[in-house]
């Protein structure tokens, strides 16, 4: 039967003059002339996507050239994504050429340009919860399960290597009458200040975050739902991407290092206090993420004087901040709001307060198969509180870094 089938097929093919479907080779040259940094990406992720079928091929370039084989004739969008780190500062680059007709072997030139990273806080769980420790009669407060989820809200791949996260030091808010030891010529209104800078590890190519993916940083990457231990009853954070653990924290013995989860790096710690854990306030803080323009270094630390005391702080240039969310204790505390445009015009809070097992989550809707989060720089508009803190709410993708 097989032979008969082949013979019939051959007759029919001859009769119908079948045109064999050929594939083509597309060479992508990356134009790096717009990259002013002395360090350029070692390679780029190059994607060619058919605009009709939405099928895509992805390859990694060798330096600034990529060769994609097996491309069927069609109209394609060709895009690139890469990153490079210099002095601990990561810059992302991308470029796209749309509606390229591939009818034969073709060469496409794509210009690499600096990407303004569209990373946003997706969900922040800071309130902690109540739990009853084994053998205890009363409930205790629990806060080691805090987490911060960051989402790629763009259509570009963003390498998060070197991304910094911190909370704004609230004593610095009332700038009137305070003095700051900023370098001469710098305006205090261009800065916010923190006392801890945490940084995502990586050399600039290790942690690509695809559009529609999120990654999670936990205070402690443990399963906080286990019975019979001191981890409370809240969330399983044992498989998140990063945890806020440092050598100093490990040494003081209060926290357990999960060997399967990479540790965040301490970019900078102001002063000489010991870091027992990275505990942010269970009543909310002002959270920021940023890619620093200048290298994070001890010599950048400054002091501010409120007329009574002086405090060491680390300046964060507002123009470097990618996303900021201001959360507070309650509605009445909104009068203490720290900052306005362009960082966050809003102010939100979890109504049950601290240790309520509530979180704040950004709103969004699915467009073209991807969740697009609302980002109007007004947390009142953009966020809502949740009574069920979740990792990757809405089924968003996780990066494949492990």
């Amino acid at each position: 039967m097989k032979k008969i089938f082949i013979i019939l097929a051959g007759i029919a093919l001859l009769a119908s003059c079948k045109t064999l479907t050929k594939t083509h080779i597309v060479t992508v040259n990356i134009d790096e002339s717009k990259i002013t940094s002395s360090v350029k990406p070692e390679s780029y992720s190059v994607t060619i996507k058919n605009v009709v079928t939405q099928q895509e091929k992805n390859v990694t370039s060798t330096k600034a050239t990529a060769v994609i084989e097996g491309v069927y004739a069609g109209v394609y969008n060709v895009s690139i994504a890469g990153s490079a780190t210099e002095d601990g500062i990561t810059k992302n680059y991308s470029g796209t050429v749309a509606n390229v007709s591939v009818l034969a072997d073709a060469t496409v030139t794509v210009a690499a340009e600096v990407v303004e990273p569209a990373l946003v806080f997706k969900e922040i769980y800071y309130t902690g919860c109540k739990y009853t420790a084994p053998g205890a009669e009363k409930e205790s407060n629990y806060f080691k399960d805090q987490f911060y989820e960051i989402y790629n809200n763009s259509d570009n791949t963003i390498y998060v290597d070197g991304l910094c996260i911190g909370t704004v030091y609230n004593r610095t808010v009332n700038t009137s009458g305070y003095t700051y030891s900023l370098p001469e010529g710098e305006d205090v209104k261009d800065y916010v200040f923190t006392q801890y800078v945490w940084k995502v590890p990586g050399d600039g190519t290790q942690y690509p975050l695809q559009p529609g993916e999120s990654f999670v940083m936990a205070q402690q990457a443990l399963n906080h739902t286990l019975d019979g231990n001191t981890y409370g009853k809240s969330l399983d954070l044992s498989k998140v991407e990063f945890e806020f653990i440092s050598e100093e924290i490990i040494a003081n013995g209060r926290c357990t290092d999960n060997p399967d989860v990479p540790n965040m790096l301490v970019g900078h710690k102001c002063g000489t206090n010991k870091t027992l854990q990275w505990l942010t306030s269970a009543t909310g803080e002002y959270y920021v993420i940023w890619f620093p323009e200048k290298k994070i270094a001890p010599e950048n630390e400054i002091t501010f004087d409120n007329g009574i005391s002086t405090f060491p702080v680390y300046p964060i240039k507002k123009s470097d901040i990618i996303d900021a969310v201001e959360a507070g204790k309650d509605e009445a505390s909104s009068k203490n709001k720290l900052y306005f445009s362009p960082l966050d015009d809003g102010y939100l809070f979890c109504p049950e307060g601290n240790y309520s097992f509530q979180s704040i989550a950004r709103k969004g809707e699915t467009k073209n198969g991807r969740l697009v989060l609302v980002d109007t720089n007004n947390s009142n508009n953009d966020f809502e509180y949740k009574t069920d803190p979740q990792l990757r709410r809405g089924g968003v993708g996780a990066p494949n870094w492990k």
Binding site: F5, L8, A9, I11, A12, L13, A15, S16, K18, T19, L20, T21, K22, T23, V52, T53, Q54, Q55, G70, Y72, A73, G74, V75, N99, S101, V102, L103, T366, N368, G369
Partner: protein, 496 residues
């Protein structure tokens, strides 16, 4: 050629359910009308009114879970001097229930990958009108010319959003020629051209809810779109078919043998939006058919073989806004999917006392194989089954009337049924296309099933005419999948 509505063919309702001189003529199905000049059909006229009802889940999912309708047929022959004429008119009005994954196509079929599908189960309504005629002109004792002609049109309407109004029209013309020598041999050749046109226009009853649909390209590969807001407009199917056939007929006083072979080439262009004329794809189909027929006093046999190969061709297109163009330009075309189908059926009938005798016994067999492939990312659908049946026919004279009882039992063995899909469907609303639609086709092919059918025909002679009342029913029960299918058919025929 006539527009057929899928449905009752799902189950066997008796191979001899339409016993008439035309159907039993060896030349009637060849497409060569000129052969009728040497082998004319006995003069007959008939009017038939029928009704059909079918229900059950054992069928292809696009065909729906139910089917009911009425049909009317007027058919007959005439001779004007030496010219033999045959003509037929059919009308049908049918309802299909629970059809899935089809927004556009009047008659969904494996060889047409370019259409719009949704995930809303829907009813459809249809009306069809078919006209067919043949004429055979003898040219002396050894030659004859013939002509086939046909005109069909139909209307369909999907009843659930996104709802669709479809119009289909076919025109067919086919000249033919036969040569006879030594009284026993007839050689025939025919060509034909058919032009098929279909226009399907989607609409919404509730314009406040846009409907997500899939623009299908073959084997589940699709792009998401919406009906509503002017996104999807009418689809046009423009098809040209050319055909060539060769027949050989050998006749003695004892037997009548006919062997024929036919080749059909079809090109169908699928176009979206009559204004913008967006090319959605093209199919090129080659069909090879062979048939063999034997008529002897006690033995009848028919064998039909068909092989279809279809290329699903996708276009690389751009919208050119240049002055004077302002329309879609096809830059290249590629064969991205192929569809191979083999159909074979054979039937043998033994009549101990000849055609008019009281008993007839028969065996029949059917084989179906489908092998479809989408090139990249590669997806495949393979399915095949074979069915065998035993049947008996008994004619009982009751006074001047006659009752004919036909009984058939068969078993279908599913040989293969596998669907492999390696692509992705981005829209969450359309995941059922890969999870339900195509897997259900594979499961249908692979199903084993037993079936039984019964047909009663009662002939009442009235002077030189007769009335024939027909009632038939069939039931099929699959073994390795759930569901069943049953159908009944009632008809009244007036022959004169």
């Amino acid at each position: 050629m006539a527009i057929l509505i899928l449905g009752f063919c799902t189950i066997s309702a008796g191979a001899w359910d339409d016993d008439n001189p035309w159907r039993n003529s060896l030349w009637s199905g060849t497409g060569n009308a000129s052969g009728l000049s040497f082998k004319p059909v006995n003069k007959y006229h008939r009017l038939k009114l029928g009704g059909v009802y079918e229900q059950g889940a054992f069928n292809l999912i696009q065909e729906g879970t139910g089917f009911k309708g009425v049909d009317f047929t007027a058919e007959g022959t005439a001779n004007i001097k030496k010219v033999f004429l045959w003509g037929r008119f059919d009308f049908s009005n049918t309802f299909r229930d629970g059809a899935n994954y089809n927004v556009m196509l009047f008659n969904p079929r494996p060889e047409m990958p370019f259409y719009v599908a949704d995930v809303n189960s829907s009813n459809w309504r249809y009306q069809t009108y078919n006209l067919a005629a043949k004429a055979a002109f003898p040219l002396g004792e050894a030659f004859a010319l013939g002509i086939d002609a046909g005109y069909d049109c139909g209307f369909g309407a999907k009843q659930v959003d996104p709802r669709t109004a479809t119009y289909i029209r076919n025109i067919h013309v086919g000249p033919s020629f036969t040569f006879k020598w030594k009284e026993k041999n007839i050689l025939g050749v025919n060509i034909a051209y058919t032009n098929n046109f279909e226009r399907s226009t989607p609409t919404l009853s509730n314009i406040n809810i846009q409907q997500t649909v899939a623009l299908m390209r073959g084997l589940g590969n699709c792009s998401a779109s919406t009906v509503g807001g002017g996104t999807i407009r009418a689809y046009l199917y423009k098809e040209h078919c050319v055909e060539g056939g060769l027949q050989y007929n050998y006749t003695t006083s004892d037997i009548d043998l006919l062997a024929g072979v036919k080749y059909i080439w079809e090109r169908c262009d699928v176009i979206h939006d009559p204004t913008k004329q967006e090319p959605m794809g093209r199919t090129i189909t080659s069909r090879i058919k062979a048939n063999f027929g034997l008529r002897a006093a006690k033995h009848w046999a028919d064998v039909n073989l068909a092989y279809n190969h279809t290329n699903g061709i996708e276009h690389v297109k751009i919208y050119d806004t240049s002055p004077g163009v302002n329309g879609y330009v096809i830059q290249a075309s590629n064969v991205m999917s192929t569809y191979d189908i083999i159909r074979a059926d054979a039937e043998y009938r033994f009549m101990p006392r000849g055609k008019e005798g009281p008993w007839a016994f028969g065996v029949n067999a059917k084989y179906y194989l489908e092998s479809d492939e989408y090139v990249a990312p590669q997806s495949t659908l393979n399915g095949s089954f074979v069915r065998g049946g035993l049947c008996a026919d008994r004619k009982i004279d009751i006074g001047k009337t006659m009752l004919e009882i036909y009984l058939e039992a068969g078993f279908r063995a599913g040989l293969a049924g596998e669907y492999i899909f390696t692509s992705t469907i981005t829209s969450p609303k359309l995941q059922a296309i890969k999870d339900d639609f195509y897997p259900s086709i594979a499961a249908y092919y692979k199903a084993h099933a037993a079936d039984v059918s019964l047909r009663l025909a009662y002939d009442i002679p009235i002077k030189k005419s007769s009335i024939r009342i027909i009632a038939s029913g069939a039931f099929a029960k699959p073994i390795n999948i759930s569901g069943n299918r049953f159908g009944v058919h009632l008809g009244v025929e007036y022959r004169f």
